[in-house]
């Protein structure tokens, strides 16, 4: 049940262009240790700009 809720939450967030923050932190720790890591707020703003800035082709009719 908990897993299902989590799945629905992640689906809803990705629908509006927000990938998983924890995966990002894990990725940075594994591949770029020592590099600066965005906090949750910075990550949110960065993804918002990336999705809506226009470079991603928008959405469908």
């Amino acid at each position: 049940m908990r897993r299902l809720f989590d799945l629905a939450r992640r689906t809803a967030r990705l629908m509006v262009g927000l990938p998983d923050y924890d995966s990002y932190v894990r990725h940075m720790a594994a591949h770029h240790p020592g590099d600066p890591v965005m906090n949750r707020t910075q990550f949110f703003r960065d993804r918002q700009q990336a999705r809506y800035g226009g470079r991603n082709g928008g959405r469908c009719c």
Binding site: L7, R9, R10, T11, A12, R13, L14, M15, V16, G17, L18, P19, D20, S23, Y24, V25, R26, H27, M28, A30, H31, R40, T41, F43, F44, R45, D46, R47, Q48, Q49, A50, R51, Y52, G53, G54, R55, N56, G57, G58, R59, C60, C61
Partner: protein
Amino acid sequence: MTRHLPWIATAIVGAVALWVVAVSRGEAVNALWIVVAAICCFMVAYRYYALFIARHVMRLDPARPTPAFRRADGLDYVATDRTVLFGHHFAAIAGAGPLVGPVLAAQMGYLPGTLWIIFGVVLAGAVQDFMVLFISMRRDGKSLGELIRMEMGQVAGTIALFGAFMIMVIILAVLALIVVKALAESPWGLFTVAATVPLAIAMGAYTRWIRPGRVGEVSLLGLIGLVAAIVYGQAVAQSPVWGPLFTLTPVQLCWLLIGYGAVASVLPVWLLLAPRDYLSTFLKIGAIAALAIGIVIMAPPLKMHAVTRFVDGSGPVWAGGLFPFLFITIACGAVSGFHALISSGTTPKLIASEAHAPLIGYGAMLMEAFVAIMALVGASILDPGVYFAMNSPAAVIGTDPASASAAVTAMGFPISPDSIVQTARDVGEHTIISRAGGAPTLAVAMAEIFSHVVGGPAMKAFWYHFAILFEALFILTAVDAGTRAGRFMLQDLIALAVPAFKDTASHAPGIVATGLTVAAWGFFLHQGVTDPLGGVNTLWPVFGISNQMLAAIALMLGTAVLFRMKRDRYAWVTMVPTGWLLACTLSAGWLKLFSADPKVGFLSHAAKFGAAADAGQLLGPARSMADMERILFNDRVDAALVATFLAIVLALLFFTVRTCLAARSADVPTAREIPAQPVPAE
């Protein structure tokens, strides 16, 4: 063998349901037959055809690293759970298109549209999405334009990019036109949609400063605001002060939208675009799910005829015969070229394994086709008299209930003036006559279905405005996001001639490109709004032609890639739908240009008005010589536009044939895939 038994049973159920839908005459068919037929066909197609394409045509390799692993960055390239990605991809491809096209197509009856959606999606639409996803997934998630450049050459890529920009302009104009048609003279509707602007700005401030990143929370707050706006909208509409303020004519709304598009697309994204997108995305998914549940609970009988006499091309909603115009009227839902831009956008960068591609590429498109089926069902459960009163242009049926009732009854769909007035009163509108564009019709149908499940007849007006709000909301989001995307496409194109335009740091090129994009769709919107035949009549076919042409281009890319992979013997998978789409779009384009019937052909329409203008006569609906001039000018612009689309698709056909011939004469595969090499696990 035993593992095939459930699928054989599914296929038999689907075939029986399809048979019932196709041959029942005389008594009303229940809408559930269509739903069952569609679901069974889609399941069997997914189980067998998608698997065949995956195994034999593409030879998907689950061991091969996808871009999400090769270029993992935790941001754009992230290996994502396949259910989560399915939701993301579906939300990106499903928009207003699959809701509007089938509603307009219902003028020919429910049968032709149902068959085209089911067979179109299985053999063409889903194949296209799946194929483009596959091609992009093997090339680091590159976009459609870049893929065409890689596989078919620089010139072909640039032509495709130009075509994509033109299509974007037409899509924006037609979407904006739907909003105008739905909100004109409707103070309740306009108030609720206008209320979303301050609401979204408040949400934007909340996610920016108060609780950053709390998307679910802010969306719930927004939803409460939306419901309040719908509830209070009725009081606003009835108020002697506010009512008239929110009652705008189509032309006023058109200018308001153009101004809105220009301003909204240069605002920071977090202020208006992003928060409203949260609302529209979740509302869209919720409304689609609710519609599916509602149809199953209500199990309504279909009131529209299976096939109407308008298959001969004399229909009032849009002009042109069954072939080719039905197949371009239902674009999204059966096959939509725009999906090629999504399948080569964010999705290929997020897919975790090639084994997920059938579900995401093929499956999500089947789901969109199901949305189209529901829209078709919605339009077909309405009294046909109401349907034609809502969708016929005022030039044909007049503007008052008596004339509309007489004209629609004369078409063969009897309806009394009282029931037209009563339908409008039920949904809380002044009038429902000539509200073409699909959205109002679908809203009446949704009000019918939802009020059957929740609230009874008293809630009809609420549900109607809820449905209008939900459609207007995501269309406005698409207008805003599309203008931004169009601006960058245009900047890239202009930069080919003037390199300084590429400079994204300086403001001038961005402002110029934004202005040009808004002016381009604004021009077609204004033309549609002032068109006496209602605009949808002219613009929707042009949109359909352009969208299906992009689909043909994407499928031609698929064909070229299969040839270059030396899989010629399977190339029929993309060649058959390519051939069909070329036949539909080229003949539709040709008819739009050269048909002798002025209702269909732009040039013969121009000739008719030109001759009258030379003789000093006014032809209805023009009221002055200036009107005559404008109609002539619009016809010529539309003709030039269609000619451009034809030229683009023929040019790409040439490049495809050339690429395929070159690939055949080569001894080894020439497709430019990123070689399969293992990458260290995350």
